[in-house]
Amino acid sequence: MSATGIGASVKRLEDIRFITGKGRYVDDVNRPGQAYAYFLRSPHAHARIDKIDIAEALKAPGVVAIFTGDDIAADKVGGLICGWMIHSKDGSPMKAGAHPALAQGKVRYVGDHVAVVIADTYAQARDAGEQIEVDYTTLPAVVDPAKAAEADQPVVHDAAPNNTAYNWHLGDKAATDAAFASAAHVTKLDLVNNRLIPNAMEPRAAVGDYDSGTDTITLYTTSQNPHVARLVLSAFIGLAPEHKLRVIAPDVGGGFGSKIFIYAEETVCAWAAKKIDRPVKWTADRTEAFLSDAHGRDHVTHAELALDANGKMTAVRVHTIANMGSYLSTFASSVPTYLYAPLLSGQYNIPAIYAEVDAVYTTTAPVDAYRGAGRPEATFVIERLAELAARETGRDPAEFRRQNFVTEFPHQTPVIMAYDVGDYAGALDKALALADYKGVGARKAASAAKGKLRGVGFSAFIEACGIAPSAAVGSLGAGVGLWESAEVRVNPIGTVEILTGSHSHGQSHETTFAQLVSDRLGIPIGNVAIVHGDTDKVQMGMGTYGSRSGAVGMSAIVKALDKIEAKAKKVAGHCLEASDQDIEFKDGKFTVKGTDKSIDFASVALQAYVAHKFNGQELEPGLKESAFWDPTNFTFPAGVHICEVEIDPETGVVKVDRYTAVDDFGKLINPMVVHGQVHGGIAQGIGQALLEGAVYNDDGQLLTASYMDYCMPRADDLPSYTVDTIETPCPSNPLGIKGCGEAGAIASPPAVINAITDALGHEDVTMPATPQVVWRAAQKALLKRAAE
């Protein structure tokens, strides 16, 4: 392994600009003559718009234009779309309510977009926005997903009776029911997977810029997938044809899913820039981010696990109500369906699984993919069930899991997935050792002696990522293919530019992708540049989400590098007067087999462009290749996380005392970066378990719309983590990578809650397990113990 090659913890090349204040985020982009957009948002969760009077506002200082939904519709610009078709049990297509970028006739959540004011300064736009008079007829809100489909509830979309987008199912109901009928033990749980607000630290932003000379719109936007944004804005929303629409996602300050989607504000800025022939800039303030970024999770679930007399899992049965919010966001429909139920088998060999999912509309912000997207919800279900079942049947939670692990691969689950490779017991053993599981009893006693309650909780998670074979996701309803593209441009002096359709917004691609190239071509890592995030530079790509940049994005680079090597060997053959069949390439040198005749990579690159040593008609000059990579399967990262908490029963405060994660991500490119991804994921999962939760009141007002009300994990809320890995290389991509971006957020919530319930002797505490929640449960537990 070289110091900068695959497997080395290379310090990040992108860091220099970030630590010196030279990053370039969308809000740092300023175009000459730009105007500023302010979005007037609905103060009501549900209301008819009777009239919008902009006359006074138009007279306000600095105002350039004010637009409403009617203006956009008049320009034949379409509404926002949901790109994944789900069919209900009865075969009917999902019922997607219309989603205009600016509301038409009705608003459906607090923060919904009513009008846009464009002025010379942002302050002027905002001031003028306050002078727009909107007549609303307020309608009752529907907030609770568990009740949304009931007959007496207000209807969010006329197109969706009973506020139901779809009633979907997966698995063999008859086989599952039969297994439950003959079960020796059934464990049952009612679970709420709390609604989260993503909160990337960089708020969403957009700058629309129109060049009337070329009739081209450029949109600078905080996107995880600029090409998908261009595709949707062009092909579906109809803003401009693709060759007249450039989308640039420069440095992006975190995404976690929330910047996958095509939102109203970005669409309006791009459209309005052309409309007024002047650049239009918008940057969300934090409350706008809380109100209008797509939220995550929000499931209400009843789940059951059947065991035989030996403790063998025989079936899982799940019914979930998924809150979609007010509109179906870009990929929302896939999250509680194909990203959720196929993971309900966990790491276990379970013969029968049946899941039903009712997706409902409420008058709340749209809900879509958030770090893990469906897989955290599935893991929460199966790992809470597993822990409780072990306790109910008097089994050690670690050994109960081990007994049920899948041990032979490939393993076909009853819910679509074919697990390719893994070593679940290997991860468990390593985690048990690192967590000093043997010492838990003594530590519990020590805590008890201090009047504290200590608990330990497990989470043996699996996820499907690297999404995915295009044909496979197409058969499940995806509107797009999920391959990735790469182009390798070798310059005449031997430096290399990699153009990738993946997008880095914290994932470290500029380093890890360069490591791959440095390793493969034997050139210094400083001679490699990674180019991404601009549709004018990179032809096409599917972007970054679902932990896919390594498994899919880097695989595309490998495929293009294969072509580079083949071509370079031909050039080298001409230079060395040998057949390209006799050329070997190693450590940056082309050598004629069995001789000491060699030429280095940079010299071959130069010769490829000079083209003096070969016939340009027989061998094309230049050294540039591109590739598209479409995977053959999902990848299946898995691991075991063990959380140990200490609870003060007097205050309900939960201290995460130890957190151990052992993950199998296949081959690692940069362990430092992988560990960093795991740390961040764990923090978000602990946040979900202990601190975070979106709260709407009965009127549909978001009560958690600032950092004073929504509890983000801070440095003093969290411990340091013990993170390690095992390695079973993934067989379905050339690098053996599985993906590591979401694992921490997927694994950790059940580990934390299982630890708390262990400490309290309770079957459930709700998330977030705030001091109030835990104090109440602790008092009950103490009373129960006293009674015994």
Binding site: G21, G23, A200, M201, G253, R286, G506, A683, S706, A715
Partner: protein
């Protein structure tokens, strides 16, 4: 409009500004020092942290006019003579950043923390000292390590003999 003048990263600057202009707007919009970020507008997240007369403040809730006559240091002014500040270097060395958005504020707050707490803050002190700066990417694990290293290196730079 009101007149404001101050020293920013060692350079004297002055301008006529709207009295409601926040310091962060003055830095970003007037001076185009875009390294200082706005993450929340309510002084909760700390992405906008800069130093005013040597102490960390949150520039998103500070009026520029209140800094009239002050000396302001932003992330762009931290490196000296082409050499990274030890805290900047520590964040790179320990992978203390991912998306980079909170990083300028996190580094400015960390330097201030060391200035207040000394060159060998323990983990508890670091975590408590950074509770006014939110990071969504790193889970803080590597930020804590970064600050510990940065503090040591700042100590070594301040007193080479003591560091030996």
């Amino acid at each position: 409009m009101v007149h404001v003048s101050m020293t920013v990263n060692g350079r004297h600057v002055s301008a006529e500004i709207d009295p409601r202009t926040l310091l962060v707007q003055f830095l970003r919009d007037n001076l185009r020092l875009t390294g200082t970020h706005v993450g929340c507008d309510t002084s909760q997240c700390g992405a906008c942290t800069v130093h005013v007369d040597g102490a960390a403040i949150k520039s998103c809730t500070t009026l520029a006019v209140t800094c009239n006559g002050s000396s302001v240091t932003t992330i762009e002014g931290l490196a000296q003579g082409g050499k990274l500040h030890p805290m900047q270097q520590a964040f790179q060395d320990n992978h203390g950043l991912q998306c980079g958005f909170c990083t300028p504020g996190m580094i400015m707050a960390s330097v201030d923390l060391v200035n207040r707490e000394g060159f060998s803050p323990d983990e508890r002190t670091i975590r408590h000292g950074l509770e006014g700066n939110i990071c969504r990417c790193t889970g803080y694990h590597n930020i804590v390590k970064s600050v510990a290293q940065g503090a040591r290196e700042m100590g070594a730079a301040a007193s080479p003999r003591a560091a030996e």
